[in-house]
Amino acid sequence: MKRTASLLLAILVIVSLLTACSKKPDPQPATTQPTETKPAAPVELQFFYPVGVTGPLAQIIGNMVDEFNKAHPAIKVTATYAGGYGDTLTKTITSIKGGTPPDLAVLGASELYTLLDMDAVLALDDLIAKDGGQKFLDDFYPGLLKSGKSGGKLYSLPFQRSTQLLYYNKDAFKEVGLNPEQAPKTWTELSDAAKKLTKKDGANVVRWGVEIPTNSFIFQGFALQNGAQIFTEDGKKVFYDRPDNVEALQFWADLAKAGVQPPGAIGSSNATTDFLAGKAAMLYTSTGSLGSVRDKATFNWGVAFMPAKKQFGTPTGGANVYVIKSIPKERQQTAWTFVKWLLEPERVAKWSIETGYIATRKSAYDVQAMKDYTAKLPQALVARDQLQYASAEMTVHNGAAVTALLDEAIQAVVTGKKTSADALKEVQTRANQALADWNK
């Protein structure tokens, strides 16, 4: 009897184990029953999004999604915050591979080739042709729209796009005798101003002249300011070790050597926090933090174009909206409804006002709320005005590996372990290897 009982128990455990391990059925879109009077359950859309800058962006997105759900009772969008751009891409691709893809996602504009190599995203041309057409597309800034195009098709639409900006503390400028309405326009002016703005107390630094985060996005800005793009448009080649780039990285590292910039590798959220705390008088970061600076700064502040060497230049950063390819056709149409709503001029204007990201449609700047806002805060227009000097962020095949190599070189130079020429030459060789498969 005891043996039978233990056998039965074992079988019970095994059966419950197998049930727990079995795959859950995919959520089905509700089908309406013509004979019943109760309303059909709404179509549920899964939406992944990142937050790549300092600020309460998750809350803003949550509010927008609630607004959409109220206005569209037949659709229920569930927005899931998925971390930074890298994390959101990882989560999206893992979900696709695991058979439970989201319906749409906001992913880095520069991830296009990775997504295309995995055949993960849907070409939007058919959906646009039926609903908006060329007139819709013409309203977007062409530079921003370009990053979603490949092989004659459009795979994404610009949602949260940025340029880099030079934020500066006007009160600090006045304190050291610099004109607070005149931000540095060239590299030389930047390092001169930074020298004046650095305040020390013995061996301790009370305020840095400038604080520049250590990442490849910032490096692309320096490279563009000193001449040219560091990758080819087809995403198959990179040019890290060009003499202009070596010079740019050297200038950046020399700022720390001159004592006007913190030493070592610096995180971008640290840099923003230091600026807001008055510990850095100038800051290199994305316009996406404008909203946060506006709300938190306790001093007069301004923004300006990135200082030039041979020319003004900045990469356009940020993320686009993508629709996932593997979802059923009816859901693609529903997902498109949400995308279209998200990109309506009023919405685009609201998003830009609350965050600082560039409004990606020209008509958004004519919306009354936007006109009032920019009249009060002219800083909000600087990023858009810089678009004429902006170029695409590095978008290449095998993007993660190739960008990681660049980050490695930058970190080595900024921490004083390698010279600019050596570091960039070494990663150029390895980057060529990483891209070899696409250059056969």
């Binding site: 640290n270 095998n398 990681a404 696409w438």
Partner: protein, 307 residues
């Protein structure tokens, strides 16, 4: 009247194979654990070993057989050797100091003083913190200019511009300090339990013979703690080899891979570069390393331990 022993065949169970009948129950009860072990440990290991023989990356959507090509790629990669070195250094420098500190602390708080629970709690609580919370706290403490550690160091004359986590030489020691702080308390509990289970007569004999504290420790206490030390040594080394969460929060493996470990590199390859062939090769090497360490501990060191 003598009691006759029952005829041997009268009470035999009716199943065809008597041995199977007796063991069916126990094996059936083991079956869930075996199923889980096979499904979540053995099968993935075999799958990883198989996948490591294929080219599976962004450029090769259809996997192509590659023999040991992925391993060749790794051996030629300077970053691979760097992360292997980092991982071994991490494991050694977090495991042994943690254990030594744990032993010292256990000896310290192993007394019947009323307030000893205070000391034990204070030393143990870091082990209860989730890894991410601990990493976030220390990230803040290491922040230049106003982080607690930075400000503490300025009292020793160092400049407040020290960027510990952003410096290639100091990032790893900084993380090691955090790891030891987090683990030592946990290991201390094991030693405390072991200390309190030690036989008293041996200690009394030592005192009678006039042994000094150090002789007593070295000759009696430490050898008798052998099993605990063995277990903690393996546990510490294995968890040191698996360090990844704090790295993700504090340094993302940088600067310039100074704090990258095999597991972190594996994560980057698998979920950043989506190069599953090379990631599988890394997994296989990690499995072999772990098995070797386990075998060394329980196959060889085990024999030297007093039980």
């Amino acid at each position: 009247m003598a009691i006759q022993p029952a005829a041997p065949t009268a009470t035999r169970p009716r199943s065809a194979s008597p041995r199977l009948g007796r063991w069916a129950g126990p094996y059936a009860l083991l079956l869930p654990s075996i199923v889980i072990l096979v499904l979540f440990t053995v099968w993935p290991m075999l799958l990883a070993a198989w996948q490591s023989l294929f080219r599976m990356n962004l450029a090769t959507p259809v996997p192509r057989f590659n023999g040991l090509g992925n391993y060749a790629v790794l051996f030629a990669d300077p970053v691979f050797w760097k992360v292997v070195g980092n991982t071994l250094i991490f494991a050694a420098t977090t495991a042994f100091p943690s254990i030594a500190l744990a032993l010292a602390l256990a000896l310290l708080v192993n007394n019947k003083v009323r307030t000893s629970w205070l000391g034990r709690t204070a030393i143990f609580y870091p082990a209860l913190l989730p890894a991410v919370s601990a990493a976030s706290i220390w990230l803040f403490m290491y922040t230049p200019t106003y982080g607690l550690v930075t400000r503490f160091l300025t009292y020793f004359g160092l400049s407040n511009t020290m960027n510990v986590l952003g410096d290639a030489h100091w990032a790893m020691p900084a993380i090691i300090v955090m790891s030891v702080w987090k683990q030592a308390g946990f290991y201390m509990v094991f030693y405390l339990a072991a200390l309190q289970g030690l036989p008293q007569d041996v200690h009394e004999a030592a005192i009678v013979e006039g042994a000094t504290g150090w002789q007593e420790f070295r000759g009696i206490t430490f050898p008798l703690l052998g099993p605990t030390t063995l277990f903690l040594s393996m546990s510490g080394i294995l968890s040191g080899l698996q360090l990844a969460d704090p790295l993700y929060i504090m340094t993302k493996g940088g600067p310039d891979n100074a704090t990258s470990t095999i597991i972190f590199y594996l994560y980057q390859k698998a979920f950043g570069s989506w190069d599953q062939g090379v990631a599988s090769a890394l997994s296989v090497m990690l499995i072999v390393l772990f098995l070797a360490i386990g075998l060394f501990h329980y196959g060889y060191l085990d024999k030297k331990v007093h039980y």
